[in-house]
C-alpha cells in the first residue's frame, strides 16, 4: 500500500512540476488584444483651469559666505565685488621623526593661493591686476555686506568706508590670462602677518581680494601656503598649508525690488519658489467626453513647466548652468513664509537651467511624479492641495538666478502642470 501511495504522490509531484513549465505569452497587434486597459492620457493644465494656484518666492536661504565661490569684480560696469578671507590657527610647530627641532621657528615665503573658476572668469585684454589688501575692521563672515561689516539681528556695524574698509596693499598679482590659480606672495611680510593672525589677543581682521583695475573673477578655496624655518637651522624649511577659516565676498548691488509676475530660483541669496496647487479629483481630457479620475490613477509622469522670462538684468542672470530640485512642502507658506517646513526631495525632479539657451518663453520642466502619485493614492476627499518648493541645488552655486512667469503674471509665461496618467482599468465582469 505504501509503495502504491508513494508512486502516486511521486507521479503527482512530477506532474505538478511539468505543469509549471508554461510558455503562455502571445504576441498581438496593438489595440486588438483580448481584455481591456485604460488609455494613458496627457493633460497640460493652466492655473486658471484649476480651482486654486498660488505661487511666491523667498530668499535668504544662502549667502556669499556659503557660496562655493567668491566673486571679485571691478571696472565692468555691472558690479563691484571684493573677497574677504581670514586665516586663523595657523600651525606653528613641526613634528620631526628622529630629528631634533629646537629653538624658535620663523614663517617664511608665505603665499595666498586661490583657485580660479576659468569658466566664470573674464579678463580684459592685457589681464587684470589683483591686490591682496589688509582689512582694517573686524567683520562677520555670515552677515558682512558692502555697507556693513556686521549685519545681524542684534548688531549692525557699518564699514568705516563702504566696500570693506580696505587697508594697505599686502601683495599684488597680474593675471595676464585666465589660468587655474591666482597667487599672492606675502614675501617679507610673511612672518609678521602670520604671527599677527595667530595672536589670539589681537583681532584678526583678515584680508581682502580686490581688482585694482578691471575684470571679473570667480575664485575658490583660499589657501595659505608657507614655510616654517627653525632659527637654529635656517637652511632647513618645512612647507605647510592651511585653508581659510572664514571667507565671503561683498558686492555693491542688490537685485531689483520684486515686481509681481516673477518667480526666481537660484542665485547667491538662495531664491526659492513655492507653489500651492489645488487639484481636482478628476480632469477634463481633450477628446474624452467625461472627466477622467486622477485620484486613484497611475501617474506615469508629472511635471511643473516653468516658462522663462529671459535673462534677468546684469549682473543677476545666472552665469552658469544650475539644477533645480523640487521638495515637498508640509505646511502653508502663506502663513509661515520663508520658515515654512520643507519635506522630502522629489527624486526625479532634477531640471537643468542653462542660461545660454534659456530664452524668454523657453520652458524648464521640474518632475514631480512621485509626489503627485502620493496625492493620487490618497483617498478621495482628502486634501486637494499639492505644495511644492523648488530651489537650486546646491544653493549659492551661482551668483545670479533665473526668473520665470507666475500664475497671475503675463499669460504667455504662466507656469503649467503637465500630467501623463492612466486611470484604473474597468475590467469586465465576468
Amino acid at each position: 500500500m505504501r509503495r502504491s501511495l508513494g508512486v502516486l504522490l511521486l507521479t503527482a509531484g512530477a506532474a505538478g512540476l511539468v505543469s509549471c513549465e508554461r510558455d503562455e505569452l502571445l504576441s498581438v497587434e496593438p489595440g486588438h488584444g483580448p481584455g481591456r486597459s485604460a488609455a494613458t492620457v496627457e493633460v497640460v493644465v493652466d492655473p486658471d483651469q484649476l480651482e486654486g494656484w498660488a505661487d511666491t518666492i523667498f530668499s535668504g536661504f544662502s549667502g556669499p559666505s556659503s557660496a562655493t565661490f567668491m566673486r571679485v569684480e571691478d571696472g565692468t560696469g555691472d558690479l563691484t565685488g571684493r573677497g574677504l578671507v581670514r586665516f586663523s590657527f595657523i600651525e606653528d610647530s613641526v613634528f620631526v621623526v628622529g630629528g631634533d627641532l629646537s629653538g624658535a621657528l620663523r614663517f617664511d615665503s608665505a603665499r595666498v593661493i586661490l583657485i580660479v573658476d576659468t569658466l566664470r572668469t573674464e579678463l580684459p585684454e592685457g589681464g587684470s591686476t589683483l591686490q591682496l589688501r589688509a582689512v582694517e575692521q573686524e567683520w562677520h563672515n555670515r552677515s558682512a555686506t558692502w555697507d556693513y561689516a556686521v549685519d545681524t539681528l542684534g548688531v549692525r556695524e557699518p564699514w568705516s568706508a563702504p566696500g570693506g574698509a580696505l587697508g594697505a596693499v599686502l601683495s599684488e598679482a597680474l593675471l595676464a590670462e585666465v589660468t587655474d590659480s591666482l597667487v599672492f606672495e606675502l614675501g617679507e611680510l610673511s612672518d609678521s602677518l602670520i604671527q599677527l593672525w595667530n595672536d589670539t589677543t589681537q583681532v584678526n581682521t583678515g584680508l581682502a581680494v580686490v581688482v585694482a583695475d578691471s575684470g571679473r573673477l570667480a575664485l575658490q578655496s583660499p589657501q595659505l601656503r608657507y614655510q616654517l624655518v627653525p632659527e637654529a637651522t635656517p637652511d632647513t624649511s618645512y612647507t605647510l598649508s592651511v585653508f581659510a577659516t572664514a571667507g565671503t565676498f561683498i558686492f555693491d548691488r542688490e537685485p531689483a525690488a520684486l515686481a509681481s509676475g516673477v518667480l526666481r530660483v537660484g542665485g547667491v541669496q538662495g531664491w526659492r519658489t513655492f507653489l500651492e496647487i489645488f487639484l481636482p479629483d478628476s480632469l477634463s481630457v481633450e477628446g474624452v467626453p467625461e472627466k477622467l479620475a486622477l485620484r486613484g490613477a497611475t501617474v506615469n509622469w508629472a511635471e511643473i513647466v516653468l516658462s522663462s522670462l529671459g535673462p534677468p538684468d546684469p549682473p543677476f542672470a545666472a552665469e552658469d548652468a544650475f539644477i533645480i530640485y523640487a521638495y515637498d512642502v508640509v505646511d502653508d507658506f502663506r502663513v509661515y513664509g520663508p520658515k515654512t517646513p520643507v519635506g522630502a526631495l522629489v527624486g526625479e525632479s532634477a531640471a537643468t537651467v542653462s542660461p545660454d539657451t534659456l530664452e524668454a518663453g523657453e520652458t524648464v520642466s521640474v518632475g514631480i511624479t512621485t509626489r503627485l502619485q502620493q496625492w493620487a493614492e490618497s483617498s478621495p476627499g482628502s486634501s486637494a492641495l499639492l505644495r511644492i518648493m523648488m530651489r537650486a541645488q546646491p544653493e549659492a552655486g551661482t551668483f545670479g538666478f533665473w526668473e520665470f512667469g507666475t500664475a497671475d503674471g503675463d499669460s504667455a509665461f504662466v507656469p503649467r502642470l503637465r500630467i501623463v496618467f492612466t486611470p484604473p482599468t474597468e475590467f469586465a465582469s465576468p
Partner: protein, 383 residues
Amino acid sequence: MSRRTLLALLPALLVLASAQAFAQEDVLGSAGLGRLVRPLDAHARGMGSAAVALHGGNLSAVNPASLARVRLPGFWLTLMPESRSVKGDVLSGDIETADFPLGRLVIPFGERWVVGFGFGSFLDQDWSVEFMDTLRLSSEDIPYIETRSSDGGVSQLRFELAGVFSARWALGVSGLYYTGEVRRSVERDFPIPLITYRSAVALQYQGWGLALGAEYQPIREMILGAVASWGPGLEVRNDSTGQKLDLDLPLGLQLGGSWQLTPDLTLATALGWEGWSALDAELPEPGSSDVWRVGTGVELRVLSGPTSALFIRLGGLLERKPFKLGEGAPWERAFSLGVGANLREGRGRLDAAVEFGRRADREKHGVEESFRRLTFSMAVFTP
C-alpha cells in the same frame, strides 16, 4: 490501499484542485466565461471523449452512475499537457500548457454503494497577450509594451454517490460546487522615467450544481448512459468594486453508449448538448450559444495476460464551444490515439492519449489554433 489511506489523500486532492485552476492558457479562453474544459481521463480522451458510458471502467467525471461499477477503493489522477499554435489576424504565437483536469477518490461501501469525491476542470480563463504600441505625447512619442493577462478559472468539486439498483441499472448523483478566482491584470511598461502602469482585479466565482446519471446494461456487451446536469447559478463577485453578478448555469444533457463488439473490440459513442445560449444576454458581446458535441471511438485489446491487458484506442471528437468569437461559436475538431494498460488484476491502470486537432476558423473568428493534447491518467485500486 485502505479507506483511511484514501481519505488521507483528500488534502492532496484539494491542493491539486486549486492548482488546476491556473494551469491552462488559451486566447480562445478570453471569450465569454473562458474555455470549457471537461474532466475526462485518458481512457475517454483516446476514444473521442465518449465518456458517458464505457466498458472497462469509466473514470471520467461525467456520468456519476459510472462510479457504481467501481468495486475497489481507489484514487486516480489525470495530467493534460497541451501544445498550441495560434494564428490570427492580430495575434500569433505558440503556447505550452499543462493542466490537472481530473482527480477522484472513491470508496465503495455496502453491497451496492460507492461514495466519491473529486475535482475537475470547468472553465479556464488563463491567457496572456503582449503587444508594442506608442504613446503620442505633445512633446514626443513614447514606445511601450503592454501585457494583458488573465489567470485562474473555475473548478468543480464533486461529491458523488452511486449505486447498483439491479443487474441492469445503476444510478448516480453528483453535488457540484463551483469555485475559483480569476485575476485580470494589465501592465503598460514605459521607458524610464515614465512610471509603469499596473491595474488588476480579482473575480471570485462560486456556485452549486447537480448532475444525475444513469447507466442501463441491457446485455453484458452493451452499456447505455445518460446524464443531466444543471445549476441554479454562478455568482461572480468583483473584489475591487464589490459588484456581484449571478449567471445561470446551463442545463446539460448527454447520451452515450458502449458496445463490446467482440471480447477484444469495443465501440463507444456519446452525444452532448449544453444550453449555454441561456447566458447570451448576460455576457458581453458576442455572447454565447449552445454546446453541441459528438464523440466516438474504438478500443482494441492487443495483449492479454493472466493479470494484465493492453489496449489501443482510436477516436474523433467534434464539439462546438460555448462562447462566441467573431462571427459565432468556434468548433473544435480532434482526432485521438490512445493506449492503456490494466495491471495486477485491475488494481492499477495506466492510460495515455494524444489528440491532434484544430479550433476555430480564422475567417470567421479572426483566430484559429492547432493543438496537440496529451493526456496521462493513473489509477490505483486496493482491496
